[in-house]
Amino acid sequence: MTLEARVRAGVGAFELDVQLAVAAGELVAVLGPNGAGKTSLLRALAGLLPLSAGRVTLDGVVLEDPVEGIRVPSERRPIGLVFQDYLLFPHLSVLENVAFGLRARGMARAAAIDEARRWLDRVGLPAEGDRRPVSLSGGQAQRVALARVLALNPALLLLDEPMAALDASTRVEFRRDLRRHLESFRGVRLLVTHDPVEAMAMADRLVVLESGRVLQSGTPADVTQHPRSRYVADLVGVNLFRGHASNDVITLAGGGSLTAAGAADGDVFAVVHPRTVALYRTRPDGTPRNVWEGQAVDLDLEGDRVRVRLDGSPSIVAEVTPAAVRELGLDRGDSVWISVKATEINVYQA
Amino acid sequence: MRARVVGALGLTVMAALCSSCGTSAPAGSPALSGTITVFAASSLNEGYTAIGKEFQKSHPGTMVTFAFGGSSMLVSQIQQGAIGDVYASADQPNMQKLIDARLTAESPIVFARNNLEIVVGKGNPKHITSLSDLGRSGLVVVLCAPAVPCGRYAAQALQKAGVSVRPASQEADVKAVLSKVALGEADAGIVYITDVKAAGTAVDGVAIPAAVNVVAEYPIVILKDSQNRALASAFISYVLTDGRRILERYGFTTP
């Protein structure tokens, strides 16, 4: 069972242009900033947003193809979509919510309620059937929304930011629960999120989406170790540079240059972890190949580290201890010397 | 105040004896000015509007405004406090209500008479020739509501003719009956001959013989709360003198 999708769709001025394939058994997370088009992608796959071009095939069946004039309406697609704020019907009880899809597809009321009860048991809410959604906690609502969708045994399960409506303290626990429920699901699973931790914790494969386009795709390790965009770099918390390498020297697109060990020639990305950036008051002597002067623009205390944003050629973010900041007497606007060892720079083909 | 009333009555008598006298303020009385409001029965609409124009021409600097409506509705309004100077009714009972309520300044005078006529659509498509035809089944007949003078009169006429009619509607004033027939919504109605005349070519009329017809008497009076008795009085005088010519033109008979 596979999902093959080439989606081109427009929402106002925004254009979505995504190609992806997901096989049953792998959980793919679509990661991207707000406005990247993640929800639009899910809506397009669900049939709520018409394609302007492309094709969506699920398990060999064409769900949509504008050129061939095929468009299977949402209600006939074997899909389940768990919305960001769950959208449990407020005028129905929890049981009726879970039974909704079954009844809509023709099941008799009594049978549907029975089946709904079984699913509520499976998600761990056996006693909540007669309650109204408004009285449920975030975690309970999430489980009901999941049960409502799983009860229909869809071939494609789409989850829109499933943790977004939960508060941070309950998130970890529910992530585990969700993972457990998803693991037993036999169809294709696609999850959308803006939380990298969630993506990393749940996905077998990441697809990074920005401004409607796929920037990179791969395993979580792959993506985070070789970020190909500012967005991912920021997510992971590293410095990302792009430039042209020649004989170990990378001329950076943004100005300046870096010397890196073992860089193949050509267009490259270079990653420098802030931890490996050293700061000095005076020009340092020593082995580091990369030494330049810069100006401290911002200092942010994050836990037991201080992230220092430095303007220079190139600009870079350094991570030092608060003690170090005190020792240097570092303040906003101060000039400092920056150094990075060539061996600490991770370079790969662009 | 009493002198003025007597004066007005005296003038009336003089005017009645001198139908070709011109109208002007009686010698010795002050020049007339100001505005008066005249409440008048709907059937007086065209006639009184014409009288009002002539009156204003003869008495420059004065203004007469009219409020036309069903006589009973006007009485109701005056009783509830509507401000006006003159009341002209289409029947005596409504005038009596005002007298009983002590809202009149003097005794009313009958200034005109009217008769009923059957009004039918142009060309009389339903071939109505008499009151008895109104009792035909399938005919859409409208009458005035019983409380309105023309409704009362119509009931009297129908009773005299021994006809029983099931009206489709009982309208609030005679003009509404007329318009329903003129619009083609009703086949026939009972209105005044003056209304049929005023409607011109929009409708046709079927005469009601005098034996079963009803004479409608129109009294007029100054209202007790009038703020301009002089002008009100002059207007009434005008109605009783030069006004007679105008009213006759519209189909009224004058005493």
């Binding site: 919305f83 005028h91 | 409380a147 919504e185």
Partner: protein, 270 residues
């Protein structure tokens, strides 16, 4: 020993004096006529008046006509409201303005328009009469039509507002769960806008109950057939003021009951 802390009452906002005065005048504007009516009511004979055939007839006719008008308004008005709230098509704003027109049109003008459309010589009226034998002027059906004409816009507007303010993603969710468009409408959309449906229906009913100008112009006035309560009051005022006052009181009591019952819904909780 520490004294227990008394919790401070939450400070209520105090009203500036000009507002209080103006609001008081506004309230008086509504209350005084009502008090006048209550004071003039012939309480001793009121019960008899209420039982008199003309009052009962008018009341029965009014209830029949107003409820029928509301039923028609629901059947025709809800789909219309849905069309305005959910679809876009050329000429939509013009169509919407036309359906709202009876709200701003003087009722008598509405009555004249109905005559020109459904009267004997009207656009449709003639055809209805010759083809189906249906006559509308001077009939109870005509009175119902007149009331529907002036009251339906209230229902359309209210339901449309409810549909617009509803989160349409619930409809999306229902569709992804396999519900057909019809099922979505019946089991999700309409239940979610139930407060607007109720408020719209009640407003429509209240307006229909009080309609006068269009009714008397189009349906005429005949006791038991087209003389609804407002017409009865109007005519009774000339002949039997006591009956008029009692009728007015009944209308007033009914309207007040409706408005008080609706107050929360009307004031915004949707």
């Amino acid at each position: 020993m520490a004294l227990p802390l008394r919790s401070q009452p939450r400070a209520r906002p105090s009203a500036p004096l000009p507002i209080v005065i103006l609001a008081g005048a506004g309230a008086a504007f509504f209350i005084i006529p009502l008090i006048g009516l209550l004071l003039r009511t012939p309480w001793t004979s009121a019960w008899n008046e209420l039982g008199s055939p003309e009052v009962l007839t008018a009341l029965r006719l009014s209830l029949l006509a107003s409820f029928s008008a509301t039923a028609i308004a629901l059947v025709l008005g809800v789909p219309l409201a849905w069309t305005f709230a959910r679809l876009t098509f050329p000429g939509r704003s013009v169509l919407r303005a036309l359906t709202v027109l009876p709200m701003v049109l003087p009722p008598v003008v509405g009555g004249v328009a109905l005559l020109l459309a459904f009267g004997r010589r009207g656009l449709l009226g003639g055809w209805l009469a010759t083809t189906f034998g249906i006559h509308l002027p001077f009939t109870t059906a005509g009175a119902i039509l007149a009331e529907t004409f002036v009251a339906m816009p209230f229902l359309v507007i209210t339901v449309e507002a409810g549909l617009r303010s509803m989160d349409t993603r619930f409809e999306d969710a229902a569709r992804t769960l396999g519900a057909s468009r019809w099922t979505v409408l019946w089991r999700v959309t309409l239940p979610l806008v139930r407060p607007s449906l109720i408020a719209g229906a009640v407003l429509c009913w209240a307006r229909a109950l009080g309609e006068f100008g269009a009714t008397i112009t189009f349906a005429g006035n005949f006791p038991g057939r087209t003389q609804t309560m407002p017409l009865a009051v109007y005519l009774a005022l000339e002949t039997n003021p006591d009956a008029a006052i009692v009728l007015s009181l009944v209308l007033l009591a009914v309207s007040l009951a409706v408005l008080i019952g609706l107050r929360d819904r009307w004031l915004g909780a949707s």
